[in-house]
């Protein structure tokens, strides 16, 4: 069976120097350069369709909400004619398909619409824009913490499989999943601020006040990544090539890092983009506990307040991120695992 020649291999070595050593150490991009554009086109078209479906379904779901919900408790004070005026102003009185077509016309023009209840007459973009940096800042800090500590814990557990460090790590993971988040977040906030003298709430004025929220957010992430990487590494350890690697005389740590971890990272890398991008979504608990004006509870508020344009915009953002994340995940997967050909790598993982 003659192996199919796959053309020139382009080495993207970090240092850029083309000597042979770096070509090995560099990341190899399969040279299906020819296949990449068609793949991207196909996938982004699919993504577009998915997002379109998501928005339309959400649009219709929001129209099922009861009319009175738009007034909150003003309902009594308003005479029927006043209620009429308010609904008219929100454009809720015309039939649903007209509302849908209006929405898509506006979207085509790039206008995400203005909020009707959350902050009346304020463009949705103006509501969301100032919140994103906060969620991003905390999200990335938490992500960095959880990735680094999580992977370290996971690798350490895989190395010491069966011994007490593994048991310790596993009990930490179980603890974080067992105790309801609402309880231990509040516990951390009230007790640690008392001990450390930090302020209870986050405020941009107080420099150290971002540490506690970021650490709390990362606790769940550490547990998650540790569990994942441990599971993947344990799977790899059972593989045959590890027997050969150890037979070659490689030291345990060398085997663990250059082979086991390297291979265990492939399934990880595929989920990373989505979780990374979802940091924008922010954490509902932390942002509401520490008064961080991020995106945390925004969607839930918008839904319960029935602010349709705002819900629409948020769902658009989140679904685009979700699909985009999957898309990047596929590409990363193809890069790190030579066995996967880009054209074939379609469909949900």
């Amino acid at each position: 069976m003659r192996p199919r020649r796959s053309g020139r291999v382009i080495a993207l070595s970090p240092s850029g120097r083309p000597d042979s050593n770096n070509r090995e150490r560099g990341i190899y991009i399969r040279s299906h350069i020819g296949a990449l554009p068609t793949y991207i086109l196909k996938k982004s078209l699919g993504a577009l369709i998915t997002v379109f479906f998501v928005i339309t379904v959400v649009f219709l779901l929001m129209r099922l909400m009861p009319i009175e919900g738009y007034f909150g408790d003003d309902f009594d004070r308003l005479a029927p004619v006043q209620r009429e005026a308010i609904l008219q102003k929100m454009g809720l009185l015309d039939p649903w398909y007209i509302q849908l077509s209006n929405f898509y016309q506006d979207l085509a023009r790039g206008d995400l619409g203005t909020s009707i209840i959350f902050r009346p007459n304020v463009p949705v973009a103006e509501i969301i824009a100032p919140k994103v940096p906060y969620s991003l800042k905390f999200g990335l800090a938490a992500m960095a913490l959880s990735l680094s500590l999580g992977l370290l814990l996971g690798i350490f557990q895989a190395r010491e499989k069966g011994k007490w460090p593994d048991a310790l790590g596993t009990s930490y993971v179980i603890f974080i999943n067992a105790v309801p988040a609402a309880v231990y977040f509040l516990f951390i906030q009230l007790y640690l601020t008392q001990l450390s003298g930090l302020p209870i709430l986050y405020s941009s004025a107080r420099p150290l006040s971002w540490i506690l929220p970021a650490v709390s957010m990362s606790l769940g992430g550490i547990a998650g990544y540790a569990m994942w990487i441990r599971r993947f590494m344990v799977d790899e350890l059972n593989k045959d090539y590890i027997k050969l690697a150890r037979a070659k005389g490689l030291s345990n740590t060398r085997v663990m890092f250059s082979h086991v971890l390297r291979n265990a990272f492939v399934p990880m890398v595929q989920h990373l983009p989505t979780t990374l991008l979802m940091t924008i979504a922010g954490s509902i608990f932390i942002e509401s506990l520490y008064s961080i004006p991020g995106m945390g509870g925004l969607l839930i508020d918008a839904i319960s307040r029935q602010d349709n344009p705002l819900v629409q915009a948020l769902v658009l953002i989140y679904s685009t991120i979700g699909v985009f994340g999957l898309f990047i995940g596929d590409i990363l997967m193809a890069i790190t695992d030579p066995r996967i050909k880009l054209e074939k790598a379609g469909g949900a993982r």
């Binding site: 479906f53 959400v58 099922l64 999943n177 609402a182 309880v183 509902i284 699909v323 949900a348």
Partner: protein, 311 residues
């Protein structure tokens, strides 16, 4: 000499050779044996069984109180508010004088009931959709697209809608969690099915013309039993955790139906009041115990039942 006598051809029956080589290895037997070896898992299983039996029996035990009954002191007709745990009320009373002991076990009954119902519904639908999605090539395209759409619709919208249409009750909660809960399970089952779909023994049985249904039920599902068991075991505490979350964002059960979510939410405000903190500690401990037990037991069982670990 006596040994000399042994140097004669021994009569030999073939069956004996078979028996010595025969191993009475049974898959479930070995799984159970390995599971029993794991003392932590056995302890957790025991704990869960005791808990389940206890909460079923609790209302009929002597000296039990109604969870919603408000106890008034005989003299002042005032509610017995925030009585600390003691002889009278084992777990103390809450802010309007309801017996916390009865409320916690009634709450556990509710939450576990919801957990088990939601978990079995999600896993059942998840398996059905997952196997079809993973096995049947024609359905692949369609279901993947449906999955992408469903995965991106925020479940909060659906839950808020359901909370509007149906009055808040246990059934509403189960429906709310069940409508979107099966999607991740089906995705997980699909990935597993795809891995073992093209194994030789499946190709072979397909060549022999076994119908798809039989292949799925005979070849594929038994192989996944360990993973499914783990998924089910984790789904129950997962459902309880999401009930606590739903109560937090205001879509939870009404307060007059005690549930672990409600109790924890009520208790959260008292975290900084040492004298009343017991109202938060008891429900949190119960939730943690349930989650830990299911987690440890689930993992242990799935490791024991994992086909790869069987010699």
């Amino acid at each position: 000499m006596e040994e000399q006598a042994l140097f004669v051809l021994a009569e030999r029956d073939v069956a004996d050779a078979e028996r010595s080589g025969y191993s009475d290895y049974s898959y479930w037997g070995s799984t159970i044996r390995v599971f029993m070896k794991n003392y932590a898992a056995v302890f957790c299983l025991g704990l869960l069984i005791v808990l389940l039996v206890f909460i079923m029996v609790q209302p009929y035990l002597p000296a039990q109180r109604d969870p919603n009954e408000i106890h008034l002191s005989q003299e002042t007709f005032r509610q017995l508010r925030n009585v600390r745990p003691g002889a009278e009320f084992w777990f103390g009373t809450n802010s309007i004088g309801q017996d916390l002991w009865a409320r916690i076990w009634s709450g556990t009954r509710t939450s576990l009931g919801i957990g088990i119902a939601v978990a079995s519904w999600n896993v059942l639908i998840g398996i059905i959709v997952g196997t079809l999605w993973g096995y049947v090539r024609k359905l692949e395209r369609v279901l993947t697209e449906v999955y992408n759409v469903l995965d991106n619709i925020p479940s909060t919208i659906i839950m808020t809608l359901i909370a509007y249409m149906l009055r808040p009750s246990i059934s509403t909660m189960v429906i709310a969690m069940g409508v979107t809960g099966w999607v991740p399970v089906s995705r997980f089952i699909r990935t597993q099915v795809i891995i073992i779909r093209d194994r030789e023994y499946n190709l072979a049985s397909r060549c022999l013309g076994t119908p798809t249904g039989r292949i799925i039920t005979r070849n594929i599902l038994p192989y996944l039993v360990s993973v499914i068991m783990l998924r089910f075991a984790l789904a129950i505490p997962g459902a309880i955790a999401s009930e606590v979350f739903l109560t937090y964002i205001g879509l939870g059960l009404p307060l007059h139906i005690p549930s672990l979510g409600n109790l924890i939410n009520e208790g959260r405000q008292l975290m900084m009041i040492p004298v009343m903190r017991y109202q938060l500690i008891f429900p949190s401990v119960v939730v943690s115990l349930i989650t830990i037990s299911f987690y440890v037991m689930g993992n242990a069982f799935s490791d024991a039942a994992d086909p790869r670990n069987h010699v």
